[in-house]
Subunit: 487 residues, 4 copies
């Protein structure tokens, strides 16, 4: 009887690594931060941290493994986080840093400078972090974590600027990669997006003189804040009692927002680029039904992320929509693997087939993506065991063939099914009657680009599908990662 | 900052009080029991208990508050439950028994008789428990809990029969009410349903010579057991190495299965009376669309329990189906209530409106039932705040006007909205453009009775809608509960 | 690296199994009970329980493994124990009942009778418990624990007397063995000692109208209560708002108090039979110095229980007293056994030799008793390793050659060193220059019997030394225990 | 019912702030470190930390609040600390740094330099830490704790030396105050004492090629290590596979070991300056009996620290020695304060008077020191309540009139009884028949200086008695502390 890890989400998914949230101008700021983090929990479930500032007790922080709801709801914890300004972070910790000391890697990070303290949390990934770290250690900085984000704090500590926002500009100009930063001083809340705006960050207003920053708009909804606008790519906002000031410290660049935020990462009730994520996914389903129609009796989502696209697919195709797969809503993180006999029960602990519904039917399963493909195979087995006549997979994203280096946990390239197989080989390997992915152009259309993708100047970062990395991942290249040859 | 209770399920629902599971003939029986209980977790989330028997260490038990996944997955706990036979119980504990000693009330209960031990768990409610308890105490029995189920064990202890199944027959013949019992001795697994068969209980086969009993078929699916048949109303099965033996110890009666199991309690992927619960709920939605059509732009489920009926309603009406309300899947049991300003955030912590989808639309909300109506009001507010043009409620059950005394936690009658208001008054109070409940006949049609309800001999227990109690609740009548006058 | 159990007290000691405490007439009775139990913690360290009664919430209880200070000091636990009357129990749980369900065996036990509830805790051992249990189960009683004490509650439940004190008399008249009982109803605090008065129980007064019962006077001191008197052998006191009423329900018998309470069990600051335990132990040391003098340079106690006798020995012999062995006061229950190399470190974790003090000296070690002798050997090794010239053991009790059946955890007879070896063989086996035990007559003199022990009618129970059991241990005899042949 | 803090040791004592331990060359080094820390637990009970290095997993650390026995005995914790080299630290955390983030202040501290990592723990206090910290922050160092010790790591990070021992010399030459440092790299164990040698540090040998460093020799005894020698004042030892190398990086100075280590801090079984601490304390008692004799019937120690001096006093005076005060060995850190009525029970929870022994007697109480005097008053009350005829206090140290700045937690000067009262005023305030302190010369004689204290060149740091600080406490002087005028 040994325990095994069974994520509430399929292990066979890309993992967003972070969500950030900040608020200024409210009593008990930590409560608002906790609520915002709770709304952003889908962006990182392993750990979370909150820092607040209170004139009497100074900066306080709490960092914990586990869900926001289990940690930042305890009176004992929240009482240690007084103040009217605070920031928070939820995190998916990658395998590498797990273990006894990993709590050190939980953000926000904090540094005490001569002009006061600064706490900082970040969503994204710094692609030259290894080189920066080497250089900083050489000069006497002591790192407390293995996180790339800590570089920013050390670069700030060594800046000769006289105030914290200027030091942050100094530091972030040295940094490559994708980042949406939320930071705070004793009196200011700061938000920054990298020049390409790869990761989201939005500004909200919460009554009179109170503001918040959140990775997604669902973080505003939960506390009843009004959605003001997205922070622009390359913008830094500095918010204090006098309101919001905007800066553009980086060299201008064309925006390259992550298209996978639309496909999977963001919550369906969030607004991205002026549209509901739900509607975009619905539109992907519609597009997919047009691109890859098939005769069938039932359109089933692979719960829960495939649901909006499945509804769209059903609506467009006229094939009835139904819940052929039921998710156990009490699934937690771990379960016992009792015996060899039921070793492969992982999926069944989380999902069960609605046998009576699928029996004898030709079933279209709509899923958001295929990463390693192992889950697709298991789900296909379950559906066939229940007596389905045919199984057709329709995937709401193009084949995932390249790893992400901008803040998403992807398997190494060799483990991505689409990196080594053609669509037909994948169909064969998964063992279904048909398998179709939406085209890259179709995806662009669904997110609102009527003409599809402009290969000269794509509007999104779609490196995981195209292999075209908008920022060269220098640490990875140094380690030997081979980029796609320019065409 | 005080914590408040916020159930993952709406507080404004009826609560099933129990699920039972048992297995015999497998190594590490406790693991199978835990998996079965996990699949039945929707029937009771407050606590769970497992008893196993092992020739070397005897009977062992573990009883815990909280989810199965959090308790019965720990190697330390499971190692204390060796053996090839075991039973388990999940429980929704009613408010009355909460507190320091309530772990005593967590089943299974255990009694050591001169011919050996017996553990027993039960789903339902014994309606003459108070009278039995009084009588047993008078004669020197010592009760360890406040649970009605403990009466059964004491009645067995005092029986003069020479073996445990016979003692159980003796005891259960003294008992009134609804009960599905799973029990075990050192060598036998026993299952019993009351004469009316109010609560479900099914038999499964797990390979060669291993058997299981479960409240629902989803408990069989999770361990890969084959669904053999339902235990019949009034039947007792005694299972051991020689197989399954069947008895009918009670006076024959016409079956009166709980119709609310179809509406809400059972999991959509379970099979009841030969049909998938999902399909029944879908059929309820279809029936409801016929009975109470309305012009609108969008059919939205109130997640998650309203979903199958909403899909049916949309399919029948031709109005597009969409997820206008998004559920936060990380919602746990408790959250901090931060300030007055967001005091009524309970619903928003769990649910958020998909604003972009509902804005400007005439929305039909499909929910499974209305109990006190408080949630319906909050959801209506959320939908209107998001800019919906109209809100129409369609309810997949008739008005809930009478409390249940057969194992479901219902508010007292005065708190049931439908006990004090007409449908129109309810519509007014909730504040929606229209509110319609499915008719009792319509519900019977949806569960497969082509001619609707036979008022002379209804096939189901529908007391919560009709006030016609198939077994007089004698303890409650003694306490002053007034029954509906016979017509 | 496997953990091993290392008791704060030497495993090579007899273990007292219980201490009891009760109070009536004070606000927050549970606090007083906790304090009393804390003072009695030396009588049982494995677990403790408290029951209180409050008119509003009824009887409440909390039972926990571990120290009083760690459990019954938490606001969360104490808040569940309201009321002005309460009883408590500390327990040394014997190996047999440890494991998953043993919390059931933690007293007080509780029974609800038709005239109200009764909670009961007991120090001692019922020597016909197995026979009583068999008979009660035969008649339909359900036992919840493996404890002998639960018999009393079931006997009471079956009594036809109309009030609880009378039922208790009925029950206790059926019981054989040694018991000091503390019990409570909604309005009464009850204390009883068996006819021989084997275990102690004292009455205290706490201001106006408040009373308490305690195993030892140190339980009175801690709450500032006045020591009124010992409960007499065979006496039952019933205390309520009207004061203390005294009954003598048993057949009169000559008192046989446990002499080992003087030697080891009781705390040195308690008063027993009108004398301080410390003074009695000092007198034992004096007597031992007279009986078994030896030329030496230093008298060392084996800490902590040998200390008073060592001081007495030094005072009488004129040999300097010194702390040759230092006890680590931070020793807890468990420690890691790191490697083979230091496997036998058990004693050194708890004790260290004061090398500079003992080097080159002839050392007299004074210990309270020798049970299996293993510790004596290790301590001798430590002292010799540190360079002592000679080691002489002086033991403040006669050879322990017989097990106790009256509430003390003793190894089976074959494991008692003195059951199988002569004094000289023991000296050889331990490996010391001399080994002397106080004589049984000497011990009687030290506890105040000027003429030593009267073999016809000894005033104490000294069965562990003499093999003369004042009550035949009938359960044990049934299991095959062979009594010493009458002379 | 609110909890209050009740230390196992009297709050009215000076607190040693730290103990350090290190080992190299053994499998499972963490186990040895934990044992060493357990033996040094009296030097700090609030928290402890261990760092180990293992080639496979690198540096690992665990830092916890609470006792060593409760944290560093758990298999789960110890398994995270593999390797053959490790250091540990026990800590008494001062009130200022308690709270949510204080675990950051628990040593050892760790820094990753370009040539590898270094962990460091320290006993003592850096008296120019505030100035160093200011300077380091100005240049871009980021502090993770409020501990003075972290300065050393940052100074090392900024050194331009090429190896860690040289960097440590650089750093420690910048540091003022008292420090005994234990540090480790991947291959070396390092120990350093400041030039005056204020805090102790000893070297031990553990079989072939394994070495350890410990604050006291009792840390060597527990693991069976051989005591090699004390690290000299101003010495640095660097230990690796090649053995022990010795350096003297600081300007030579006359040694000034802390005399209070003899009086109270060190464990009685440790060897300091070639003598057992027990013997020194015994000698203090002898000296005190000569300096301040009094007619009496009983010499009682105030347990446990006054015991050796009391034995010495009794031996010299010829007055019988006895345990008039019994300590409750189950006292933990906290207890409930139940009601006003027993508010001042703090002392009685820990101590009880042996009434029968002291009644009617003239009692001499021997204690190690008087700090604020509050405990002395309570103990006097207890003894008189028990019926003592006279109470005489004899104190085994001179009046404590000045705070310590070298690693001991002392109240501010105004709270030291001896800073504001004469000996006679103190006697009056405590309310005893006589009160006498040993003279400073007497104390020097007892620790082995036949001629007493040489006022020109005292051999010990006795600033707490004399106000003569061997190192000017520069941070404190900057904050306004007024030094004693030079004579």
């Amino acid at each position: 009887m040994r325990p095994f890890l069974s994520h509430p989400f399929d292990d066979d998914k890309l993992k967003e690594e972070c969500g950030v949230f900040g608020v200024i101008g409210v009593a008990d700021a930590a409560n608002f931060v906790a609520l915002g983090m709770h709304a952003l929990q889908h962006r990182g479930q392993e750990a979370g941290g909150i820092v607040t500032y209170d004139p009497e007790t100074g900066f306080n922080s709490a960092r914990r493994f586990g869900y926001v709801r289990d940690n930042f709801t305890k009176a004992g914890v929240m009482a240690t986080l007084p103040g009217e300004i605070g920031i928070g972070h939820v995190r998916y910790s990658t395998a590498g840093s797990k273990g006894a000391t990993a709590i050190r890697d939980v953000q926000p990070f904090f540094g005490e400078f001569s002009m006061g303290g600064c706490a900082l949390a970040h969503n994204g990934n710094i692609t030259n972090a290894a080189a920066l770290r080497r250089e900083l250690i050489e000069r006497g900085s002591i790192f407390q974590s293995s996180s790339d984000s800590e570089c920013i704090i050390h670069l700030m500590a060594r800046s000769i600027q006289k105030n914290i926002p200027e030091r942050m500009k100094d530091a972030l100009r040295r940094v490559e990669g994708a980042f949406s930063v939320v930071a705070m001083t004793r009196t200011k809340l700061i938000g920054v997006r990298d020049a390409l705006g790869v990761r989201p960050l939005v500004l909200g207003k919460l009554g009179d003189g109170a503001w918040c920053l959140s990775s997604e708009t669902c973080g505003l909804d939960i506390i009843g804040a009004e959605f003001v606008r997205e922070i622009e790519p390359g913008e830094m906002v500095v918010i204090d009692a006098n309101g919001v000031e905007s800066f553009h410290p980086f060299e201008p660049a064309k925006s390259r927002f992550c298209i996978f935020e639309h496909v999977y990462f963001s919550r369906p009730d969030s607004i991205l680029g002026g549209r509901s994520v739900y509607e975009t996914r619905h539109a992907i389903g519609v597009e997919l039904a047009r691109e890859a129609p098939v005769e069938a009796d039932l359109v089933c989502p692979v719960p829960d992320s495939g649901t909006p696209a499945a509804i769209g697919f059903a609506a467009e195709s006229g094939i009835p929509y139904g819940m052929g797969i039921i998710r156990n809503q009490y699934m937690g993180r771990t379960f016992i693997e009792p015996t060899e006999q039921i070793r492969n029960m992982g999926v069944r602990l989380k999902l069960n087939v609605n046998r009576a519904l699928v029996r004898g039917k030709r079933v279209i399963l709509v899923d958001d993506s295929v990463v390693r493909g192992t889950t697709s195979r298991k789900i296909k087995d379950m559906i066939l065991d229940a007596g389905a006549a045919e199984v057709h997979f329709r995937i709401a994203s193009p084949p995932t063939a390249w790893p992400c280096f901008y803040g998403v946990d992807t398997p190494e390239r060799a483990k991505l099914l689409a990196a080594t197989m053609s669509e037909d080989e994948m169909r064969e390997w998964i063992g279904v009657d048909s398998l179709k992915f939406i085209s890259l152009d179709g995806l662009y259309r669904a997110v609102g680009e009527a003409n599809g993708r402009d290969p000269k100047a794509p509007r999104y970062c779609d490196a995981c599908f195209s292999g075209e990395y908008p920022v060269a991942p220098s640490d990875m290249i140094e380690k030997g990662f081979e980029m796609k040859a320019a065409e």
